[in-house]
Every structure is written in structure tokens, then in C-alpha cells.
């Protein structure tokens, strides 16, 4: 596996932003009422993430360290505005379903997290691949949660009737509590199956961590802080 595909594998599986790092939970819990909403949110965020990582990586030697956060936010906010207008123009149904959560991509902690922990320290191309990996990981996670919630809460997936019409939809799953139920059950399954997860420290290998793995105790940054 070369270092570019490794970034993608890393984003989707090993350091999945939702299931492993538990970042960006606000849009995750709020917009995943259906699979299509999850997909829309995921892809919008991916687009912003890839472009932001690429641009910030190019600018990483120009942005002074003390004002790097405002600098990053300006880049991210410009990109989000573009995505916002594109969505409004071409997919108005998704745009109205996602609502306030599109502008809120600006403060999505995955994007700032990747900018801080990866793009500011690496070359543009690999930063873009890191963005693709993290974005796809986010998209897959949102789509999975959305699909489960839609299945149980409405009996459909991507709007197509899956369960027989005699199935009585459990509408709590498309309300806010359902998001917590589904996320926690999926995380419990991860732990049970020993997949990488926020609480499953054994699955993390020491010394390979580039960003935040969620496992604070064994985090490379943890030792750094102590050393300083």
C-alpha cells in the first residue's frame, strides 16, 4: 500500500472520523434522518475537506503560526460558501433538508482537525488524499447511520420501500433520540468485533498516529505534552 492509498484506508477504517475519532457529532446526529441526507451531508463535507486540506497545505508556510486558526477558517468558510451555493442551485431538496448544517460545515471539527493535525504539516497532494479518506469515512458513517434510522423509522432506504407495508415504523428513530441509539449500538458492535474504535484501545498501534486516534492515553501528543 503506498502512502496515498494508506491515507484513504486510514480515513475510512482505522481513524474513521465518526466511529473512531467521534468528531463532528453535531451534524452526524442532526442530519442523518435518512440515507440520502447522510450521503448529501457527507459528500458536501468531503468536497470542502479535500479542497481545504489542499489549499491549507499549500499555504502552510505562508500562514503565520499565531494566526493559523483564523487563517484556516477563512479558507474553509470560503469553500463552504461555494458548496452552499452549489447545493442551493443544483440539489434544492437536499439543500432544504440539510438547512443550517451546511453553513455549519465551517466549524466542523473534522475539517479544522485535519487542517491542524495533517495539512499544516504535510505536502499538498497527500493532504488532499487525507481529505478524501476522511471525507469518505465521514460519508460512509453518515450514510450507515442514516440508512439504519430510515429503515427503522420509516421502513425505507434511499426512499425505496424495503420492509413490508405491514411494518409499523418506529418513528423515534428519525427523531433526535434515534440518532443516539443507532450511533451507540454501532459503536458497541465495533467494540464487540474488535474493530478500531474510540474506546477500544487495543486496536490502536502505538507510534503510527498522525492525527487524533481518539485513544488519548496512548496518543503520541500525550507523550509530547508530558515531555514539554
Amino acid at each position: 500500500m503506498n502512502k496515498y492509498t494508506e491515507r484513504i484506508y486510514n480515513g475510512i477504517w482505522k481513524e474513521n472520523p465518526i466511529f473512531v475519532q467521534m468528531l463532528g457529532l453535531c451534524p452526524t446526529l442532526a442530519v442523518t434522518t435518512s440515507a440520502i441526507n447522510g450521503l448529501g451531508m457527507g459528500l458536501s463535507t468531503t468536497a470542502v475537506l479535500v479542497a481545504a486540506n489542499f489549499l491549507i497545505s499549500i499555504l502552510r508556510n505562508v500562514i503565520p503560526g499565531r494566526v493559523r486558526l483564523p487563517g484556516e477558517i477563512v479558507v474553509v468558510a470560503s469553500l463552504v460558501t461555494v458548496v452552499d451555493m452549489l447545493l442551493e442551485g443544483f440539489v434544492p431538496s437536499i439543500y432544504s433538508a440539510l438547512g443550517i448544517y451546511i453553513p455549519l460545515i465551517v466549524v466542523n471539527c473534522i475539517i479544522l482537525g485535519r487542517a491542524e493535525s495533517f495539512a499544516m504539516k504535510n505536502k499538498p497532494l497527500i493532504s488532499a488524499f487525507d481529505g478524501i479518506g476522511m471525507g469518505l469515512g465521514f460519508t460512509i458513517a453518515l450514510m450507515l447511520i442514516g440508512a439504519f434510522r430510515e429503515l427503522l423509522g420509516a421502513g425505507t432506504i434511499f426512499g425505496a420501500q424495503v420492509l413490508p407495508s405491514s411494518f409499523q415504523p418506529i418513528s423515534i428513530f428519525i427523531l433526535a433520540p434515534g440518532a443516539f441509539f443507532v450511533l451507540s449500538i454501532l459503536t458497541a458492535l465495533q467494540n464487540k468485533l474488535k474493530a478500531p474504535s474510540a474506546t477500544n484501545g487495543a486496536a490502536q498501534k502505538k507510534g503510527q498516529i498522525t492525527g487524533c486516534s481518539g485513544d488519548c492515553l496512548h496518543c503520541a501528543g500525550h507523550d509530547q505534552v508530558k515531555a514539554e
Binding site: Q168, P169, I170, S171, I172, F173, L175, P177, F181
Partner: protein, 313 residues
């Protein structure tokens, strides 16, 4: 030295009250209300009660077996949860809905947080709210074709009071009204409550303060009409909730001062929900919201340890 001295650590005086006694006393206390519900609404109610209790016990057994924990179904707490949940159901509900609620109550609300004594809100009520949010149509359908009498129709007394119609107080007290299986008859509920009070299973503090606060609140904000207040107190789940659900040991404060605060909080929330909420009833939500405040209430009402009374903390 023929007799061995028996050495043990304190406490040396033990009460004979056990979790089992308490739970079975609560169950016995609910029998009058359950029996009245079955008499009034027909056999579907009986089926709902039996199957919900079975679902609770069975899911507790399966979960504890799967997690290799000690099996605690014999302590009766799952039976109580099932009974409370069943009594909170409308009489004509398809039985799989309360059964699903029972599984949710035991596994999600009770066992995932560590089992009996660890749950942060009343499992039966949390399950009821889960079902209310999920199947609002079926859960609010109080049309019953009961065999007890034939004048039961759609709206519950609370909905009628809200829309300005007058209700018959005598029917409210006896229970000849539409409603959930266990909440309709004030007399049957009070028989159970008196039984629990006599057996000292519950203290009267929480229920009386709760009901009193609701009465005062509705008197002040509902137009100074005693008859209206009396109808409100006797209808809906207030009596049932106050004596059987708000007094749950696990989810109510243990300090006397805390119980006063808890009762007042319950009363205020119920009054607010009933007067200005979207639905005419608010007892369930008031109780689970107050359950969430219990740790905070207990922290501020913790009595000072002996010898430290005068000092500042």
C-alpha cells in the same frame, strides 16, 4: 468457652425488608387498578398486562444470561416495570407495542446502565415515552370497545377539560372514563396506595407534595375554580404517577429535603405541561425530567455529617 463469639462488621441490626418484599408489595398494590382496568376494558387489557410482564422478565433473563451476570429476575423488579408499563397503555393497543416497550425498558434503560439501582430514570416511563414518540397514533387512541360498559368514546377527560367541556367528577373517581388501563379509577389506585403506605413501602411525602403542588398551580393559573382543580387531579395519570412512579426508590431522592424539592418540581412541571403543553397530559414527561434532576437535588440537600453541622462546607 463452648459458644463461639460471632464476630461480624457493622451494621449489627438488620431489617427484614428486602428488595423482593418491596417489589411484591408494589405488585400487590397495583392489582386493584389492574383488575378494574381489565373489568372495564376487556380481555385485551389482561393480555397486555401478562405479555408485557413476560416480555420484561424474559428480556432481563436473556440479557443477564448473555452478559454472564447474576440472574435477578426473581427480585420482582422486572415484573413491576412490566406492570407499570402495561397499566400505562391504552386498552386497545396491539400487544406487540407494549412488549417492545418492555424490552426497551429492561435492556436500554435498566440493564445498559448496570441493572437495578443504577438506572437514571424510571424504566417503565422511559419506555412509555419511547412508545409515545414512536407510535403516537396508536398510543393516543383511547377508543375502547370494552365489555364493562358502553359509553366509552374517544376523548379522555383531560382532553375534554381542555376543550372546555364539563366532566362528571363521580365518573372520574370511580373510573368510568376512557384512559390507559391502570390510570382510570381513582378509588382502585388509592386502595393500592393505602396498602403501600400501611406496609411502609412508600412514604407519603413525594405523592402528597406532588399532587398538592399540581392543585395549587392549577388553582392559581387555571382560573381559581376548585371544581376544575379537583377534576384535573382525579383525571389522567396524576394519582397513578404520584403514588406508583414518582416514588420509585432508584429514581427519587433519598434525602427528606430532596423529596420535598422533587415533589414540588414534579408538580410545577406537570402543571406547566397540562396548561400550556402541546398534549393535555404531562405526568410521564414531568416524572422522567425530574428523574434526571435527582442527582443534583441530592447533592444540594445532602445532610451534614454528624459533628459537622455548624461548620461551613
Amino acid at each position: 468457652m463452648e459458644r463461639l463469639l460471632h464476630v461480624s462488621s457493622s451494621p449489627h441490626v438488620r431489617d427484614t425488608v428486602t428488595t423482593n418484599n418491596i417489589m411484591y408489595d408494589v405488585l400487590i398494590a397495583m392489582i386493584p387498578a389492574a383488575a378494574f382496568g381489565v373489568y372495564q376494558f376487556g380481555l385485551n387489557s389482561l393480555l397486555v398486562i401478562i405479555l408485557t410482564m413476560a416480555a420484561c422478565v424474559l428480556s432481563e433473563y436473556i440479557y443477564e444470561k448473555a452478559m454472564k451476570r447474576p440472574i435477578t429476575i426473581a427480585d420482582g423488579s422486572a415484573l413491576v416495570t412490566g406492570m407499570i408499563l402495561a397499566l400505562n397503555m391504552p386498552p386497545e393497543i396491539p400487544v406487540w407495542i407494549p412488549m417492545l416497550g418492555g424490552v426497551f425498558a429492561i435492556i436500554v434503560v435498566k440493564q445498559l446502565y448496570g441493572g437495578l439501582g443504577q438506572n437514571f430514570m424510571n424504566p417503565a416511563l422511559a419506555a412509555r415515552c419511547f412508545l409515545l414518540l414512536s407510535f403516537s397514533g396508536l398510543m393516543n387512541n383511547f377508543t375502547a370497545s370494552g365489555i364493562g360498559f358502553d359509553s366509552v368514546s374517544g376523548a379522555t377527560p383531560l382532553a375534554m377539560i381542555r376543550s372546555g367541556e364539563s366532566v362528571d367528577l363521580a365518573a372520574l373517581v370511580i373510573g368510568r372514563i376512557p384512559g390507559t388501563i391502570g390510570e382510570v379509577s381513582v378509588i382502585a389506585l388509592l386502595i393500592g396506595a393505602v396498602y403501600m403506605l400501611v406496609k411502609k413501602v412508600i412514604s407519603p411525602r413525594i405523592p402528597l407534595i406532588y399532587i398538592g403542588t399540581v392543585a395549587v398551580f392549577l388553582f392559581l393559573f387555571g382560573g381559581f375554580d376548585p371544581y376544575y382543580v379537583l377534576c384535573e387531579v382525579c383525571s389522567g395519570g396524576l394519582i397513578f404517577g404520584a403514588f406508583f412512579m414518582a416514588t420509585d426508590y432508584v429514581t427519587s431522592p433519598i434525602t427528606p429535603k430532596g423529596q420535598v424539592v422533587f415533589g414540588i418540581l414534579l408538580g410545577l412541571l406537570t402543571g406547566i405541561f397540562r396548561l400550556w403543553g402541546a398534549s393535555p397530559e404531562g405526568v410521564s414527561y414531568a416524572i422522567i425530567l425530574s428523574n434526571l434532576c435527582v442527582p443534583m437535588i441530592e447533592r444540594v440537600t445532602l445532610p451534614k455529617a454528624f459533628g459537622k453541622e455548624g461548620k461551613k462546607a
